[in-house]
């Protein structure tokens, strides 16, 4: 098959950029460990309480070490269950200090949901039968809206919470 000289130059340049690009994302993924979340950990969606992290008393924010936090959440249409506060009211907002390392662990009791802390890299699909997990460092202060970003039914847009990062 005949190729024009300019076309050869164009394709060689294009393919070389492609190889470089793929090497960069491959390096980031396999050496720097920036794979998207995949834990292949399964759970019975009809009995999520059987899992240590999702027992009602373990839901919500917990400091596990100095500057290290875990947040356990159970999603269901159309609510994120962050546990209850001292007065027995449902928690809708969690607060962590700037620079803390936070591990988000979430699963669903019913349909597919999303979990995004808008304005951060925390963005996960939440699927029945699976545990979604992502650890991140909260570097910026502010109020970040947690949104369900996968359609879960007619009340989908009413499913939210807030993460506040303070100084």
């Amino acid at each position: 098959m005949h190729l024009h000289k300019f076309e050869k130059i164009w394709l060689v340049f294009g393919m070389a950029s492609l190889v470089l690009f793929l090497l960069i994302i491959g390096f980031a993924a396999f050496w720097k460990g920036t794979h998207p979340q995949s834990h292949i950990e399964t759970i019975d969606p009809q009995n999520v309480e059987a899992h240590e992290a999702f027992k009602p008393e373990n839901l919500g924010l917990r400091e596990v070490a100095d500057g290290k936090y875990t947040v356990n959440i159970v999603a269901s249409a159309f609510n994120y269950d962050f546990g209850t506060d001292a007065d027995g009211k449902a928690v809708k907002k969690i607060r962590v200090p700037k620079g803390s390392t936070v591990l988000f662990q979430i699963t669903t009791k019913d349909v597919v949901h999303g979990f995004q802390v808008a304005g951060t890299n925390v963005n996960m699909m939440v699927e029945p039968g699976h545990v979604s997990r992502l650890e991140t460092v909260m570097k910026n202060t502010g109020e970040f809206t947690v949104v369900c970003n996968e359609y879960c039914g007619v009340g989908h847009h009413q499913m939210f919470a807030t993460v506040e990062v303070y100084e």
Partner: protein
């Protein structure tokens, strides 16, 4: 033989036009839904009669993404096959069976959605359960399209038998590539619907494997977008050169590009599932790499299109470095609309690179950035090219002419579309980068600055959406004129010829066993191990959920 500008026999023209009627009726209905969505999400308007936002969102996605595209493509491809290799009486009968099967399926699914029994969006993710009629309707649309697939295969086969040793006409070759890809890809969604969804929605199966159903959907979902794109490429490679007064750039290069698109459009579905918890990250990465292989045919296409423009311009005597560009037929809507589509593919493709990137994806996954992205690719690049085709195809089929007045209206239509889409798509991209979600009704969430910013971009989307709807009304007007009222006459069916001294096309490019064999090998490579993993490590299945979508 193929280049004679004869009009189709009436019987054939009626068949091809039937697909066009459904296409443009879908455009009107789906476009109206889009308008209502942007208005509703601006927070300034409420939907009348208690209509649910997610009902119109489902209609919008199904009618435009699945119905408009499939009907246009099947109809256009039948016309290309009829023009290049012919249509026998028996094949015409099968084509009608395809049409009616698809139409019955469409109506079944549409009615189910409109009465609120299928608020599941066009991706119908389990375990949300729609009424069984929705899934059965979708299955009929797919089965109908398969009848078209095998009729097209048969058309080329018969032609080859009658013309031994000759290479197939380029456009017929391209149609068969697209249909081969569509068939292999839609097997995934067909298995998902027939084996997983229908028995489960009817209550014969208690639970469904959610991850398996999603994986089968996305095995189909990405090639679906290439199924929309390849007919646009057919026009860019083999029709636009004729419209601008030039020749085919290279027959073999065009075939090679289509073969590469066939190979690399299917084994890539995981890049839609990057943030899912149940798939091994290494296999996600492998499919990301395969996804990016389409860069090669895309670069080949970009090169040959602009090379055609320049060669043609210089041959017509335009001087200077950019004389050929200035003198392109800007006033001819058959060229202008697809050209705007080509330009939109530059930011569209760049955004696609972000989406498919292993890590950057988590910044934009399920944000309205993605909606902005595919409104550039499918709703600008592809649809403006389809419009560009309709401006000559419809009058060719109805024995009418694209008059200078209708041509001018077409130019105005293209400009309205460009302005509306620039506003809507740009604000979607920005809002998405700021974390605004897609597929959501208007919501103040917990309030605050972040949400206020999102809402201001949603207002901009309503402005863009309104302009786009005006463009749709104008397009419908032009279609009705071309179909029923434009003056009788002969409208050319433009097909570019090869250069007289063109090099012969290598025979290997038509070795179907080889290319389909490699396609299947790549699919088996990319999917076998992760599929076994998914099935072996599957959690307890999911019961159906009716109430979240408003079903009792």
């Amino acid at each position: 033989m193929m280049l004679k500008n004869y009009n189709f026999p009436k019987k054939d023209a009626r068949l091809y036009m039937s697909f066009m009627y459904v296409t443009f009726a879908s455009l009107l209905v789906g476009g109206l839904m889009g308008l209502l969505q942007t208005l509703s999400r601006s927070g300034e308007f409420q939907l009348p009669f208690g209509i649910n936002y997610y009902t119109i969102l489902t209609v919008h996605g199904v009618i435009l993404g699945l119905v408009l595209t499939t009907f246009f493509i099947v109809g256009f491809q039948f016309a290309l096959m009829g023009k290049t290799v012919g249509l026998s009486d028996k094949q015409r009968k099968w084509a009608w069976i395809a049409f009616w099967t698809m139409l019955v399926g469409t109506i079944m699914a549409a009615v189910t959605i409109l009465i609120g029994e299928a608020n599941v969006l066009y991706t119908f993710y389990a375990p949300l359960r729609a009424h069984p009629a929705f899934y059965i309707g979708l299955a009929l649309v797919i089965v109908g399209s398969w009848i078209a697939v095998f009729t097209n295969f048969r058309q080329l086969y018969v032609w080859k038998k009658a013309n031994p040793g000759q290479k197939s006409p380029l456009l017929a070759f391209m149609v068969v590539i697209n249909m081969a890809m569509w068939f292999i890809a839609s097997l995934g969604v067909a298995i998902s619907v027939l084996v997983l969804f229908i028995p489960w929605s009817l209550g014969y199966a208690a639970t469904i494997n959610v991850l398996l159903s999603r994986t089968l959907f996305w095995y189909f979902g990405h090639p679906l977008v290439y199924f929309w794109l390849l007919p646009a490429y057919m026009a860019w490679y083999a029709i636009i050169p004729k419209i601008i007064g030039g020749k085919l750039f290279s027959d073999s290069l065009a075939r090679m590009a289509f073969i590469l698109l066939l190979l690399f459009s299917i084994p890539v579905g995981f890049h839609h599932q990057l943030t899912e918890p149940g798939i091994d990250p290494t296999w996600k990465f492998i499919q990301v790499v395969l996804t990016f292989m389409v860069v090669i045919p895309s670069l080949m296409t970009a090169f040959s299109i602009f090379a055609t423009f320049e060669t043609t311009g210089r041959r017509l005597g335009h001087k200077g470095l950019f004389g050929w560009f200035k003198n392109l037929p800007w006033g001819d809507v058959r060229f202008f609309a697809p050209f705007v589509g080509m330009v939109a593919f530059i930011p569209g493709g760049a955004g696609g690179i972000v989406n498919a990137s292993h890590q950057m994806n988590s910044l934009i996954h399920n944000t309205i950035w993605v909606t902005g992205h595919f409104h550039l690719t499918i709703a600008t690049t592809v649809i403006l090219t389809y419009f560009g085709i309709a401006y000559w195809l419809v009058p060719h089929l109805t024995g009418r002419r694209l008059t200078p007045r209708l041509n001018k209206l077409g130019i105005i239509q293209t400009i309205i579309w460009t302005v509306g889409m620039t506003i809507m798509s740009t604000s979607m991209h920005i809002q998405g980068l700021l974390g605004g979600p897609r597929r959501s009704d208007f919501s103040n969430y917990a309030g605050g600055e972040q949400v206020q910013t999102w809402i201001s971009y949603q207002l901009a989307q309503a402005v863009g959406g309104t302009i786009l709807f005006i463009g749709i009304l104008l397009m419908i007007y032009i279609f009705i004129q071309l179909a029923f009222f434009a003056p009788k006459g002969v409208q050319e069916f433009p097909i570019a010829e090869e250069e007289v001294d063109a090099e012969p096309t290598p025979k290997i490019l038509e070795n179907w066993y080889l290319w389909i064999g490699i396609t299947i090998a790549l699919i088996l490579f990319a999917y076998t191990i992760p599929m076994i993993d998914i099935i072996k490590h599957s959690p307890p299945g999911s019961l159906p959920f009716d109430w979240p979508i408003g079903r009792s």
